[in-house]
């Protein structure tokens, strides 16, 4: 073994990441996930209690007693792990129950559960499409969809973000392909806006294309009964495929799925490499996810509260003079445009007791740096008031209140 050359190359790579200001440091959370967490940052710093404004814990179920209890029971009843991929000896009754339950919740015929939605997206395109087919994706789809598309042999077309004229152009351009699949995120994770599924489904019908939606940032809370963006836009019967995760609103552990027509779910199990070569989700996760879906099917209380809190948070930030990305989902990006400003803002928020991370290129387009805040049904109004105060203090200190894009860039640079 000789690691000499490797060490030099890898150290240079790390150095470059640091020089570019893109080095990511983990913040150690020393408590369960929730609206208030105990954090050590940097690693050797003393523990600090902060308000959490950046988890995907939309419905506040990550540490919910009923979910924890369901997982505990499953640990006793079905054990800890499967030590197998699904098709050899890794599928328990609860895995299949979860598939049927999520399919029903989403209004689909069937589903195939994977270890993550990243795995679901890695399987989807490669399994269903060949070089004869075309994928037409929104340019801002999640990285895992881009990776999934790259794994397939289908031809890759893409359209400007949520631009329906451009989508129609691409549909016209691809008329000679055997199958065409339009792919979007239901809710785009960085901007918090929704894909206009009503218009997309209309175009899909007109041009005889299928529609796939990654609803990871929507399942459980978007739409009147939380079924997702297809419910919100009234097209539950028109979306062909939904990929989603159990790792965000639905308990937040891990696991994801492809839901759709029977043939699609079946093909995932016959040919999906992440299904065939990766372990099944642990039984406690499967059982707790079933419990989550049961709770969400009984009451819309949590998603209703989330909707109210989101409106309250948006109004508070807007009234304070922050520049927000428009939208009505619990992803509320506070636009700062300049990368260094976003980093500084996040740091000062932390000092004020609020945990919210800055995002900048390459995670978002250049000149679009921001603090992405995310609301949870586990938040109370008091948490948001505290966070709002911190945002105002830092905003005032850094001189960004009341400024729009051009003024911020003029003041802080590109």
């Amino acid at each position: 073994m000789s690691y000499i050359a490797g060490k030099r190359v890898f150290s240079e790579m790390i150095q470059k990441i640091k020089e570019d200001g893109l080095y990511k440091q983990e913040r150690l959370i020393c408590s369960p996930q929730g609206p208030e967490i105990i954090v050590r940052f940097p690693e050797n710093a003393p523990e600090k209690k902060v308000i959490n404004m950046c988890a995907n814990n939309y419905l506040g179920l990550s540490s919910h007693p009923e979910i924890v209890h369901a997982a505990h029971n499953a640990l006793d009843d079905r054990g800890y792990g499967m030590s197998s991929v699904r098709f050899i000896c890794g599928t328990q009754d609860v895995h299949r129950q979860l598939e049927l339950k999520i399919a029903e919740f989403l209004g689909m015929e069937d589903a195939c559960v994977f270890s993550s939605c990243l795995d679901a997206n890695a399987a989807l395109f490669e399994v269903l499409l060949t070089e004869e087919d075309a994928i037409i994706a929104d340019r801002l789809v999640h990285a895992s969809i881009i990776d999934g598309i790259r794994l397939s042999k289908a031809q890759n077309f893409n359209f400007k973000h949520s631009n329906m004229e451009h989508l129609e152009e691409k549909l016209q351009e691809t008329q000679n392909h055997r199958l065409r699949l339009i792919v979007v995120d239901g809710v785009f994770s960085m901007d918090g806006d929704m894909a206009p599924l009503d218009k997309i489904c209309e175009l899909a019908e007109k041009y005889d294309a299928m529609v796939a939606v990654d609803d990871s940032h929507a399942t459980g809370f978007i739409g009147k009964t939380g079924r997702g963006t297809h419910e919100y836009f009234g097209v539950m019967d028109k979306v062909d495929i939904i990929t989603t995760t159990f790792g965000k609103a639905l308990g937040g552990a891990n696991g994801g799925c492809v839901a759709g027509k029977k043939e699609i779910a079946d093909l995932m199990k016959q040919r999906g490499r992440p299904y065939l070569f990766s372990n099944a989700v642990p039984p406690p996760v499967a059982v707790a996810s079933i419990r989550v879906l049961d709770i969400l099917s009984q009451t819309t209380e949590r998603r209703d509260k989330l909707e109210r809190l989101t409106a309250y948070w948006r109004k508070g930030l807007t009234d304070a003079g922050f520049d927000l990305k428009e939208g009505n989902t619990p992803i509320v990006p506070v636009m700062l445009y300049n990368a260094k400003l976003a980093q500084q803002f996040s740091k000062e928020l932390y000092d004020e007791g609020v945990y919210a991370v800055g995002f900048f290129f390459p995670v978002v387009p250049m000149g679009q740096a921001r603090i992405r805040t995310q609301i949870s049904a586990a938040h109370e109004k008091e948490h948001l008031d505290f966070a709002l105060d911190a945002f105002k203090k830092v905003g005032e200190r850094l001189g960004v209140l009341g400024l729009k894009k051009k003024e911020i860039l003029a003041k802080f640079g590109e």
Binding site: R139, I149, N156, F157, N158, K160, F361
Partner: protein, 85 residues
């Protein structure tokens, strides 16, 4: 030569900029390193060139560097179409 560069530039603007985007893009503007075109959406540009000029650009040649400016793209195009000015 300028006729072809203009054609490519017009396509880039139409395909990658939003209508309200007042960003100035010239033959030397970095498209990929400048964040206008990303590696995922670059494929549209490749398909456009292949169809328009009736060529096949192998993936190995379609590098982010070769596609980074209109000038670079034209240089690449000339490799496949030496008849162009």
């Amino acid at each position: 030569m300028d006729e072809h560069k203009k054609l490519i530039l017009d396509y880039v603007k139409r395909e990658y900029l939003e209508e309200d985007d007042d960003q100035e893009v010239t033959y030397d503007t970095p498209l990929i390193s400048g964040g206008i075109v990303d590696s995922f959406s670059m494929v549209s540009l490749k398909v456009f060139l292949e169809k328009k000029y009736n060529i096949q650009i192998p993936d190995a040649k379609a590098t982010p560097q070769a596609f980074d400016t209109v000038n670079n793209i034209y240089k690449l195009l000339k490799e496949f179409r030496p008849d162009l000015p």
